[in-house]
């Protein structure tokens, strides 16, 4: 079974993003970038499937700029066998990413595409579902557990009221939630090894995909800041203020 894992290069989750002064976006120049945390979880799960003998090959793919190679090398250091970079300098929306991934699925014929549930930059939470729609495949989103047996995937999903379990006919799309696993750190020898693993670069046009965005960014602004509050001295003071000042209890 082959597993395809799309990984995205995003601003590191520890960094507080700054809105550009001209209001056109968020400052990314000179900012530390890392693999989207949900995608680390997806890579980890794919590598575990390989270690269990269920997956035979794990292919990482990223749509993005040249530096997304680093993200792909990280995926390979974690255990992915090879990588594909779909090189583009324009920001591609989930619809465009899903179309690119659909074309790659046609080339690679994976049995499972494991994505992150959302990228922590644009927070769309859409790409996996859209790919599933374009392919007409089953989808198991927000997965906290995956079991593969007899051509089916049993997926436990984090939903609003608790947990739901579905079985999916393979091939299928699964998106990873936070509690699916704890991703490993790549060891130094594996980082070295990853440098020699194959990384292929292609252009969206090679796949015959039009990624023209449908959304125009009108503006990007800081959200209204909260007024700095006060420290109260005692529980009694707190309760009195909640009652008399804030009037919320």
């Amino acid at each position: 079974m082959k597993v395809l894992v799309p990984v995205k290069r995003v601003i590191d989750f520890n960094i507080k993003p700054r809105v550009k002064a001209d209001g056109t976006g968020v400052e990314t120049a000179g900012v530390k970038m890392s693999m989207n945390p949900f995608d680390e979880i997806a890579v980890e799960e794919a590598v575990r499937l390989k270690e269990k003998g269920i997956a035979t090959e794990v292919v990482a793919v990223s749509v993005g700029v040249q530096q997304a190679q680093d993200t792909l090398r990280t995926a390979m250091a974690m255990g992915a066998d090879r990588a594909i970079l779909v090189l583009t300098d324009v920001a591609v929306e989930p619809l465009g990413v899903a179309k690119i991934l659909k074309a790659l699925v046609a080339k690679e014929s994976p049995d499972l595409v494991l994505l992150g549930k959302q990228a922590i930059d644009d927070d769309m939470n859409a790409t996996g579902q859209m790919l599933a729609g374009l392919l007409g495949w089953a989808q198991g989103t927000f997965a906290s557990r995956i079991e593969i047996a007899d051509g089916r995937a049993t997926v436990t999903r984090e939903i609003d009221g608790g947990l739901e379990t579905l079985t999916l006919t393979l091939p299928a799309i699964v998106t990873a939630d936070l509690r699916l696993n704890e991703p490993r750190y790549a060891s130094l020898p594996n980082i070295m090894k990853a440098r020699k693993k194959p990384l292929e670069t292609i252009a969206p046009a090679d796949l015959g995909v039009d990624v023209t965005p449908r959304l125009t960014i009108v503006s990007v602004a800081e959200p209204p800041a909260r007024q700095q509050g006060i420290k109260v001295e005692s529980a009694a003071d707190l309760v009195a203020r909640l009652r008399n000042e804030a009037k919320v209890i």
């Binding site: 619809l95 579902q129 579905l166 125009t216």
Partner: protein
């Protein structure tokens, strides 16, 4: 053209968040509601103030709000609608992007404000920025944040109900089971008061120390990711960028440091209270009222003060 709103339900009860989606949709046109499940769900939808028509997708294929058949139903109905809307809950986020892909539309998730029929405001980067985006798609597919729109009243409407058929297709996924967290407390997304605990609660036993406070305030209980990951409480308690987005009148954060991913889920609360032993904890930067000290001492004191105040 009218607006199609998918109303999700849990155990037959339409989520309050879906009624907020009705409010958002009314700003865009006449609202037609799509529901699955028993006739009683459709009847409840018909009574929601502002719903002009209810479309009920009945039968096994539409049960459990499975994404594959539901997205197909929505794509089938889409030609009659300018906008397709749902609340940004787990169900809307599961189904709508798939439907959007079938329609060749880029969806717009987590809308917090509607500027005009094509232009919407949505938070990005865990709420560190607000992006105003304009869509060039002929149809718009949106999920909306319940915390930004008041729920439409559950009673007041009398809309007609029509059946819609689920298009034939292979059964790609199958429902196995559901495990809902049992709680007598209000839902997080609709609670007026929320008491939330973090890693500072130390363990599952101690986390229960929040119950007496929540009981006194009629509050829902939430948690940070660290508390959920450590197994103090189930996943559906998580508040934050990747959990639930809430904006209650009063949010009390107990033993929570205030990481940006947590703040993303609660910083629009009207009043925020933080109880933390570290005076430098970032949660104090957003708190209206901060109380520095050991939560295990402070919690009983707050309860006593509440009892005294009556």
């Amino acid at each position: 053209m009218a607006v199609l709103v998918f109303l999700d339900h849990e155990s037959g009860i339409i989520r309050q968040a879906s009624r907020s989606a009705v409010t958002a949709a009314r700003a865009l046109g006449e609202v037609h509601a799509l529901v699955t499940g028993d006739a009683s769900v459709a009847e409840a939808a018909a009574r929601i103030d502002g719903v002009a028509k209810v479309l009920r997708a009945a039968g096994a294929a539409a049960a459990h709000e499975l994404a594959e058949p539901l997205a197909a139903v929505i794509a089938d109905l889409a030609p009659a609608y300018s906008h397709i809307v749902a609340a940004s809950g787990a169900s809307g986020k599961n189904v709508l992007p798939r439907a959007a892909a079938l329609l060749d539309v880029q969806p717009i998730p987590d809308v917090v404000s509607i500027v005009d029929a094509d232009t919407f405001v949505r938070p990005i980067y865990a709420g560190s920025a607000l992006a105003t985006v304009r869509s060039s798609d002929a149809k718009k597919v949106l999920t909306v944040r319940a915390s930004s729109f008041d729920p439409a009243p559950a009673e007041g409407g009398a809309a007609p109900i029509e059946q819609v058929t689920v298009p034939d297709g292979p059964a790609l996924s199958e429902f196995v089971s559901i495990a809902l967290s049992q709680s007598e407390r209000p839902e997080l997304e609709s609670a007026r008061v929320i008491v939330s605990g973090g890693r500072g609660m130390q363990n599952e036993e101690n986390f229960k120390l929040l119950n007496p406070l929540a009981d006194r305030l009629g509050a829902a209980i939430g948690a940070s990711r660290a508390a959920v990951d450590a197994g103090f409480v189930p996943n559906d308690y998580q508040v934050g960028q990747t959990g639930k987005i809430v904006a209650p009148e009063l949010y009390i954060a107990v033993g929570i440091s205030g990481a940006i991913q947590h703040l993303a889920g609660m910083k629009d609360s009207k009043i925020i209270v933080a109880i933390n032993k570290d005076p430098e904890a970032p949660i104090f930067q957003v708190a209206d009222y901060g109380l520095v000290g050991d939560l295990f001492d402070i919690l009983p004191q707050v309860e006593a003060a509440l009892d005294k105040a009556g």
